[in-house]
Symmetry: C2
Subunit: 267 residues, 2 copies
């Protein structure tokens, strides 16, 4: 297969990628997303996921990025497309990128039974893509490999969320569109909510970590929803200074998820 | 004093604010910064800081924001300036703001002796403004009220850092341009570094929290510098999943700072 050079924005493939780059719904509808840059490309190359196409900036790609493009294409039986810089820039989320990206096929959503006993992070209406990505990264690092998302949460496979998660998606099991009721019906362990408005002091509380765990994190501002609180087994607050209003959701999640990890490790 | 309407970008005050909005050096040189939006304005109104001017978007200001503008101006003996939307937008960091901001005078840098015995977060080359702001917010919430910054760290009083910190600056003591050597010479407690490359397991380590503490956080990527490691008493890593490369600096700081808080609380 020889490389194809795409020079016109009327090209059908380019139009498809542009939709994936810009429209959240397209990612969902097409079951595909774009990943950009050395780090994400390396993670995708090494992960058990399909790649539909590899794209490089024909004018500005670095040597390292070009080598990675061909290596990934080889390994995934995908084709390389060379784009003019003008077209590449319209797909790229970063301004001075290295000039390599790929169209990745989204993995299939696992059956609910697969995560009934796992450790889960439940995103309850987290709409900010950067926050959602950071939460996925933190959860995977803490050993909470299932990320379940409420219907109001940002779509987790968009380029922006993937960038913020720095490749953690590939180490996670992502389940979207899970209502609080569905979470309760499927999940067999203990459901915990982080709620600045009340509950038990996270650090003073007796051990909660023997069972498999689902930590619920709400959006900044509104916090955990009523529907999610209704299915919660235990509710915790992080003891912060009175002078301070709140933690951001990324910091709160780090404290909670690693509190669970510490309790298990130190038991 | 009656309000002034500013309609031209040749206005000297407007030119000054534009510099504060856009140039990091101007914030340092002028000893002033801009704060925008209801939340930051309320924090500034209630804090022991001086306000040089209050600015409102003459065409789009909300009722709530306008009331806050006059209240703040009253309390701080400052004047209100009305700007055309076109001019206001050139100063505002957000696109659809409520139309109120202020020029705040930076507090004086405290003498070194004032923080020799305090709990300190030392930012070692954290150049990303958003990260720096989040770190300040997390530190104040955890009771680490002194934020010391290395010369290579982002300037902490810029509008972008203040926005990310959500007003936590007002509950903090900010000390900038502190070399690792100066930190060691001034600080009397225990200096701890969070370093993914090695050290003690944070959760398994014996108590480190009796003394006053200084936690060092490095930039994402490079991590803690050699100069900072050289003045470190104890070095810790956060035990994360092997499958996962790293935590972002905001999450790592949350885990470390709240580990110290928990140890003190549970002692």
């Amino acid at each position: 297969m020889s490389d194809v050079l795409i020079e016109s924005d009327a090209n059908a493939r380019f139009k498809r990628w542009k939709k994936l780059a810009e429209e959240t719904r397209a990612v969902k509808k097409e079951g595909a997303t774009l990943v950009e840059g050395i780090h994400l490309m390396e993670v995708v190359r090494d992960a058990d996921v399909d790649v539909a196409a590899v794209m490089i900036d024909d004018e500005r790609v670095t040597e390292e990025a070009e080598a990675l493009a061909y290596e990934t294409a080889d390994k995934k039986y995908a084709r390389v497309f060379r784009l003019t810089s003008a077209l590449y820039d319209r797909l790229s989320p970063v301004e001075h990128g290295v000039g390599v990206m790929a169209e990745m096929v989204l993995p299939e959503t696992p059956e609910a039974s697969r995560w009934a006993d796992a450790d889960v992070l439940y995103l309850d209406g987290v709409q900010d893509a950067g926050n959602a990505g950071t939460l996925i990264r933190t959860a995977v690092a803490a050993g909470f490999r299932v990320i379940a998302a409420s219907p109001k949460t940002a779509l987790l496979w968009t380029p922006k969320v993937m960038r913020a998660a720095m490749g953690a998606h590939m180490g996670a099991v992502i389940v979207e569109n899970v209502t609080a009721e569905a979470l309760r019906a499927n999940f067999k362990g203990t459901i915990l909510a982080a709620d600045a408005r009340g509950g038990e002091d996270l650090f003073a509380a007796d051990d909660y970590s023997r069972d498999s765990l689902c930590w619920i994190m709400g959006a900044e501002g509104p916090g955990v929803s009523e529907a999610a609180l209704a299915v919660t087994d235990r509710r915790f607050y992080i003891p912060i200074e009175a002078a301070c209003e709140s933690l951001n959701v990324g910091a709160a999640a780090a404290v909670c998820l690693f509190d669970a990890r510490r309790r298990r490790q130190c038991r």
